[in-house]
Amino acid sequence: MSTQRILAAGAYVPADRLEAETVRRALGRFDAPGISQVAVPDPDEDTLTMAVEAGIRALETAPIDTETVERLAFATTTPPMDEEDPTPRLVSMLGLESGLETSVHTASTLAGCRALEAALDRSGTALVVASDVPRGAPDTAIEHAAGAGAVAFVCSDVGGHDETRVAGEGAQVLERSTVTSPYPGTRFRRRGEHDTTGLGITAYDRQAFTETVGEALGALAFDFESRPPDATAIQAPDGKRPYRAASAAGIDSASLEGCVTVHDVGDTGAASALLSLAVALENDAETIVLAGYGSGAVATAMVLENTGVTTSLDVGADDEPLRYEEALRRRGTLSSGEPDGGGAYVSIPTWRRSIPQRHRLEVGVCPDCSGLTFPPEGACDECDSLVTFTLEELSRTGTVEAVTTIEQGGAPPEFVDQQARGGAYRSAIVGFDGPGGETVSIPTQVIGALEIGDRVETRIRRLYDQEGVIRYGCKVARVPRS
């Protein structure tokens, strides 16, 4: 077995929740058993932006230097684009080295566990990120269960900069098994479609899940009766199936209760089992069983021994749950997309040149006067000299200098759909902290509420789509993080 260990875990779940009771009142039914509420992302969030949130948390808490990360494995069943590798942008957004090796894992909810396996099977330091936001038709069990969230792990077998802390610590896989069994039709999405669906044959679906996961757990050379796990993290398409599968494998359901997330977050697809694993690690569970499942059907099970993993999990909920119509607006059900007019044209080559500024606030330092120029092109903003800048990154924190709330009628066409889905939004000028105590003022959109003088930090979000290409960049939210 590999000496690879999980050293750190980060997680991010959007704070807004839609309660099961709200759906039941609106539709007269709620078809996701065992779920009390689900996480709902903002209109400008997707699996890539959530991956950044989880990844940043894992990297910040990990006892390693970011530049030592050699591999990135990204898992999701709902990538932002059907075809186009998201990892180059994820690498840039996370500030990782551009030469690292990346892989994308998708096609079923097992993708998260497969990404973790890929990291654990190779030597070196890797970042594993699973992020998902399943979607179904509004009147389906899949949609009622659908949540959103991302989880990330830093894995390494080479130690970190904090040798005393790293030595002997981490979570290591003791046993692992995989089982496949052909079960078509339980959960699938046709090419080009947004909604995941299934044939809805309850007994068949349940059997596919319970049998495959149960066999994977049973294949582990591990006696659950004599050595019951402290925590069991199982794929959770709803709030009942993980318990059924565990029970079938002879695992006490009590070991699920401390780390199961589906009740309050919903089905997080490829991130589901790993999100529970992250919670188990945060709870310092020593022996952890992990079981992932993907429709088709395929299941992977692992036993991990945990001697200490640093964690940074942001999975809490806002106090005020969403109304049903708010959730529908977020989903885009009540709006018709971008209106006529379109955006100011920024060509993709032009956009690409600005990516270091969009993702990481790269600024130019004038060799003549040391003044800072953003973006780092043209004459120096301070002394007007035409120079060749040296490049540095601004701090991702700053102070609000001016702010407005863009109400109905005030949004340019490319932001009308965002406004229709998320309501009025704020736009601000923020003085970002630069080297030498200088600040650089940059216009940016705002997540949530804030006022002049507030301290803020950046978040990567979708800005807008143009020519079918999603443009991502920094927005800001008030600190501390929620």
């Binding site: 955006g343 903003d381 066409p413 736009s427 216009p443 959109q445």
Partner: protein
Amino acid sequence: MTSAYVVGAGQTPFGAFPDASYRSLFRDAYEAALESADGDLSSSDVDEAVIGTLGVGGRQLGLSGPAVTEHVGLSGVPCSRIENACAAGGFAVRQAVQAVQSGMADLVVAGGFEVMTDMSGDLTKYWLGVSGETEWERLTGTTFAGVYAQMASAYMNRYDVDTEPFSRVAVKNHDNGAANPDAHLGFPCSLEDAEGGPAVADPLTLYHCCPTSDGAAVVLVASEAFLEGYDGPAVRVRGVGAASDTVGLADRDTYTGIPASERAANTAYEMADMTPDDVDFGEVHDCFAIAELLAYEDLGFCGRGEAPRLLEAGETDLDGSLPVNPSGGLKSKGHPIGATGTGQVVEVFKQLTGRAGERQVSNAATALTHNVGGSGGAAVVHLFERGAGV
């Protein structure tokens, strides 16, 4: 250097005119300008034409100057188009003055036009949006309303004022516009209307924002030599100042002033050997109510932070010590982008030749116009005095 004079100026009403084209609007304004010269001018006198337009709608982005001058029979006359966003018209006037002062022309047509109401509101916002900083500022989800609202928020924060001064701008300019038959929104509004209007970009309400309009305005700028043997009215251009600045607001050192306006004003005052105290009335760029407050301070009408007091005291009312925007301004008269700056000079010509009717400023001998492009990426200021034949 020869002096330059405005010897004629005319405009169409500003508003929404689905039956008019940009060319027919320009023709109406051109004919009104010729008529204002009391019949002493004809197209054969014109040496040069400078036309301001943003090109909203993209209907004739190339050669949009000759497209309107040939329509009024000025084919063969050198013509160029000026594009400086909302300051296009003001810069067209400046270019005309320069042509006269250089000695290259004796009579220049400075025109402006825009058609903005024959498309959806979203398309209009597209065209307005591409006049601002498109790669960063706009991609935070702002149009000009949002950018000026950010300036308003900074102003309120710095000087600890509320939105009432913005609403006073709206009330004053609507009152003036109600007496202007060419005004797009020629009706009065109350302080309560303005304060309680629908929010567009907080803290700005609908009444704090100018409309988008159709319209054209033409100014005829002549040399001293031309005035020999000319018996019509003439208004002397005493001073011209212009400046540019960063297109994006965030790149500036201040959000509570428009540095380009201040520089342009100082240049114009110096050229005219005038001070703000010498100005009898002003037509200033009030695209959003906050812009008029900033203009008072940038143009030296009052000190920094004192604009709200000036408004509250009624100093800039039509019967105040320094009337501002007797035409109704952009807020009430309207804002057909390319025609706005030339339209301001039309108002000055009417006022200084005693033709402003109900909104006539008493005993006005001097005037100032102030035209801003975008949120301050360009600004131009002109100073005028009543001249020969008046």
